[in-house]
Amino acid sequence: MAKGDVARTRGRRAQPTSAEPEFVQLLTPEGERVDHPEYSVDLSDEEYRGLYRDLVIVRKLDTEATALQRQGELGIWASLLGQEAAQVGSGRALRPQDMAFPTYREHGVLYCRGIDPIMPLSLFRGVDHGAWDPNEVKFNMYTIVIGAQTLHATGYAMGVAKDGKVGDDDDQSEAVIAYFGDGASSQGDVNESFVWASVFHAPIVFFCQNNQYAISEPIERQTRVPLYRRAAGFGFPGIRVDGNDVLACYAVTRSALDHARHGQGPMLIEAYTYRMGAHTTSDDPTRYRIASEVEAWQAKDPIKRVRTFLSKQKIADDDFFAEVDDQAQREATHLRERVLSMPNPEPLTLFDHVYADGSPLIDTEREQFARYLASFEGSAH
């Protein structure tokens, strides 16, 4: 009976999570380098160390932000804990000219773009809604409405093609990456973006971080089959990668981006990972998931495996690891200092930037409110 079925689907994990998922992996949780028929990375020791440095720093900064929220310095924080490899791997795969469209959780990608990690914190502190220039930093503002950014990214990619910026020259031609989550895959907008990207052959990579949850809802509330398979039905390739393997995320994203920039159309990457922390600092995951599940994923930690690999391969020693930890600590402290010293916005600024060409209605309201505020000057208020 379907009735039973519906109930059962809730208890049971969908195929991908029950069986060992089929995905691209280049570095095992135990830190072993493994080969893959299609994908490989050949990095210098320096580059390997660089990835480790990124992973450690983005986790440290994330932990600092969580602490800042606990201390009341941020209104809310969406932690990337557990998703460092997916973000650093894909973030480092981007070429300077590429454009990224994040959700609200891609702090690691942002860092790898060379952007000052302070940039998004004003949003989480409640000082503004983002207020940065996407074209200047090649990183769109965070988008909170689930899925909406995938259409923006697709349109932007159509523009890249119109500008003739798609072609063989890797330094000139551009690609676009759109981030979204497993939950977002159910939104109409995300599926429409697949239609557009395919029909217009847009130079875009859809990067889905399947962290197994949409707030409290496990992946089987969104799909019965692995998400990467969604792409084929829209006419472009989809692939699943070990989202906790920074090397695999780097290799697959790099190749998908080049595939796109060369004019071969869109690709979907499903980074199979896990949200180790709460959805946001407002969330209480103990209400909907069991500790053993979290522990199982702890064993697949994205940083531990790289450290093991670097040590085993003698690419890095304890001095290096200590130095990285120091740098992470310094950057975290610097971030904290700047958050604490962030000024509150002036009341009248709430009327700014509603329109590019202004509006008499806003002008009147600003003026009236200024007079209103002035009327309290000196008063107890």
Binding site: V6, G126, G188, L350
Partner: protein, 328 residues
Amino acid sequence: MSETLTLGKALNLGLRRALEDNPKVLIMGEDVGRLGGVFRITDGLQKDFGEERVIDTPLAESGIVGTAIGLAIRGYRPVCEIQFDGFVYPAYDQIVSQVAKMHYRSHGKVKLPMVIRIPFGGGIGAVEHHSESPEAYFSHTAGLKVVSCSNALDAYWMIQQAIASDDPVIFMEPKRRYWEKAQVDTEGSLSSAYPLHASRVARPGTDVTVLAYGPMVRTALDAATAAEEDGRSIEVIDLRSLSPLDLGPVYESVRRTGRCVVVHEAPSNLGLGSEIAARVTEECFYSLEAPVLRVAGFNTPYPAARLEEDYLPDLDRVLDAVDRTFGW
């Protein structure tokens, strides 16, 4: 028996009672099941009524409302939760073109007894899209009914009345008041409860009529208390029903006071205050000592959290408007 409840808990109990009273009632939305909703309004309901009746849905609002329509056609009474005000828009097409029109389209042969719950309004220090006041979008839409509760007692009864209604009801919940407590008598029958689509005098007064709904009712009452100290008597009317509006008591009041102020968080431009001002002026033209004034959100997008205190109407802005009705 009567107990002290928060507004949120009163909603939870009202939903529970609706689930008990009618097996056709369903609850569906994002995180409403195991988690009990991000505001815990559906806390414990899936545990007690099962996953067939309290449904964690995929993450898509159009899908939530669209499938609820189908369930309603099948004979169910779905209660959809939209997680936050700013996320109702993906469902806007289904609400405006289907939910609102189905009964009319079918000459009454299809009833859609569904409720769409929307925690709305600001004041909780949230990020963008979590503090919107979209009620005017729905009140302007013929075929929908729209209500908003302002206290725990109304919350408990109005949610049950909305579910019992054979018309689709947009149920606006003042999220920043979820934690405010009041005495709630949970005994008695729905039929004997105060009517769903009636406004109510929340505090009698003689000098000026202040209208509010949802989160602003508390603000208006606080203003009335403050005004009293200055020897000014404010009559506060809780509109409760935003579509249809029940303005009879308002006209009666304004004919007595000659002054009227409407308060809401939504931007003033085409907010409910504009419709109310237009109708009150039409009905009470010769009684008005001053034009109906509006205290509302500014006509900007909802600002960042650290600006919302300036953006939102508060006691002082209400009193300022009241003063202006006397200075006219």
